[in-house]
């Protein structure tokens, strides 16, 4: 426990204390009688119980929080893929991550890779050099698992788009957007015990682009997308 960590806590306590002070002086002025008190308390308890029941009947329009085992499995898949990707072991790529693949014939001897729409790279790129003498470049795009607070949001994140323009591979980041979720907890955040905390269940997957390029082609990677 750090001493500085106490400061925001003390701040909160101070604000709460102020609220108490005000509430106290206000309540002194109101002449609460016992009947009103009893009525208030029972009404409040009634509302609470009603809320519990109503909550059960609100249809679930959201995702479930995945459990620990599933989280570990997904995390493992991502790790395996990343390793294989870095080692150019195409055979080990998990086919479920594949988003799309195609071939493109280059006109010249250079391939320029351009990343736009974002100040930082939105995809990871790796190149496998082939012995082919032809002008064909093979492209595969992958997307690995993304988890936030135990929610699988993989399908909800739009991917970068890839376009060919005269020997240029243009990777455009999706338009800036926002995903907002509420997750309700029965527990005290401050008291979460052990290392199995839902808040920690996050996997930050990526978009991967795997190119097979003939050796004689010169690749210009201005934005440094290449993965080493």
């Amino acid at each position: 426990m750090n001493n500085w960590m106490l400061l925001p806590l003390l701040g909160t306590l101070f604000i709460a204390w102020l609220i108490f002070r005000v509430a106290k002086s206000v309540s002194k002025r109101i002449n609460w009688n016992q009947r009103l008190n009893k009525w208030t308390i029972s009404t409040y308890v009634g509302i609470l119980l009603l809320a519990v029941i109503v909550y059960e009947f609100i249809p679930a329009n959201g995702d479930e929080v995945i459990d620990k085992k599933e989280y570990q499995a997904l995390s493992h898949e991502n790790n395996l893929f990343e390793k294989a990707f870095g080692n150019n072991e195409e055979s080990k790529f998990d086919s479920k991550f594949l988003v799309e693949e195609w071939m493109e014939e280059l006109e010249g001897d250079t391939l320029e890779i351009i990343s736009q729409g974002s100040t930082f790279p939105t995809a990871k790129l790796n190149i496998e050099w082939t012995d082919s003498k032809e002008q064909f470049v093979e492209v595969k795009m992958f997307q690995t698992n993304i988890l936030m607070n135990g929610v699988n949001v993989t399908g909800k994140i739009p991917l970068s788009t890839i376009e060919w323009e005269k020997d240029q591979l243009v990777i455009t980041a999706p338009k800036a957007g926002e995903l907002r979720y509420y997750r309700f907890s029965n527990e005290l955040f401050a008291l979460s015990i052990g290392d199995d905390i839902i808040q920690n269940r996050g996997i930050f997957g990526d978009t991967y682009i795997y190119l097979k390029v003939p050796k004689h082609i010169n690749v210009i990677d201005k934005n440094g997308l290449q993965f080493y």
């Binding site: 994140i157 979720y181 309700f184 907890s185 955040f189 008291l191 930050f204």
Partner: protein, 244 residues
């Protein structure tokens, strides 16, 4: 002929508990206000984590009990303290009672209030859930409800009750000390800060509150601490003079 009525300690404590529950009804009602303020502060989530992937920022707002709980804990301290103020302590002696019976009745009432506060705090979360789901335009993650994991819910309620009880016990103890000697008003905060700042004090805190293997152990620890404070309070109040 004298007609002396004999009351047993149990009878007197029972009457005092009933009387005090009636007396502190307003204080219990104030808990509702406290919880509502806490809920308003919790509207935007008590904790949130966010990250940005592919230009998309993802926010998960966690609506937990923490903010409400901080308010309620403070409330519990104030209530524990309030029970010891002169009018309340002295009014016991307008009726039948000894210092022991008053202390026991106060402790029982604090236990009952703590249970009420713990349970309502836990349930107040559901009011927020319903309000956010019905009136807020956001996606939400289907989160566990009481019925999904009853055992865990009960343990969570238990730890809340135990925490509130402990804080009210501390508040009560503080009140009794101040009734004994006004100097404690200043002495106790100084003592608390000293404990929080020193290494050994922090170790003690860590031992008690952090790194518990299970919630159950934490509950047991909290209840034990409460018992210690209550026992000290009984000892300190047993010589307290009234209306002097």
């Amino acid at each position: 002929m004298m007609f002396l009525s004999n009351s047993t300690l149990g009878e007197v404590v029972k009457s005092q508990v009933e009387f005090k529950l009636n007396t502190y009804m307003g204080a219990v009602a104030s808990l509702i206000l406290v919880q509502i303020i806490g809920l308003l502060f919790s509207m935007n989530g008590t904790g949130s984590s966010g990250t940005s992937i592919n230009n998309i920022s993802i926010h998960v707002s966690i609506v937990s009990l923490d903010i409400v709980y901080i308010f309620v804990a403070l409330w519990a301290f104030v209530i524990g303290n309030m029970i010891t103020i002169k009018t309340n302590w002295h009014s016991d002696f307008s009726f039948v009672g000894t210092r022991l019976s008053s202390s026991l009745a106060n402790i029982i009432v604090l236990c009952m209030i703590s249970v009420f506060a713990g349970v309502t705090t836990f349930l107040s979360n559901y009011v927020l859930r319903v309000i956010l789901l019905l009136f807020g335009k956001v996606d939400y993650v289907k989160s566990s409800s009481i019925f999904d994991d009853p055992l865990n819910s009960i343990l969570n309620i238990g730890v809340m009750i135990a925490f509130i009880l402990m804080i009210s016990a501390i508040g009560y103890f503080r009140g009794i000390l101040v009734q004994n000697n006004k100097i404690f008003t200043f002495l106790l905060p100084v003592l608390l800060i000293t404990i929080l700042v020193t290494k050994s004090g922090q170790k003690l805190f860590q031992y008690v509150f952090i790194g518990n293997e299970s919630i159950l152990i934490l509950i047991v620890k909290l209840v034990c601490i409460s018992i210690v404070f209550f026992a000290l309070s009984i000892l300190c109040s047993n010589r307290l003079e009234v209306r002097s």
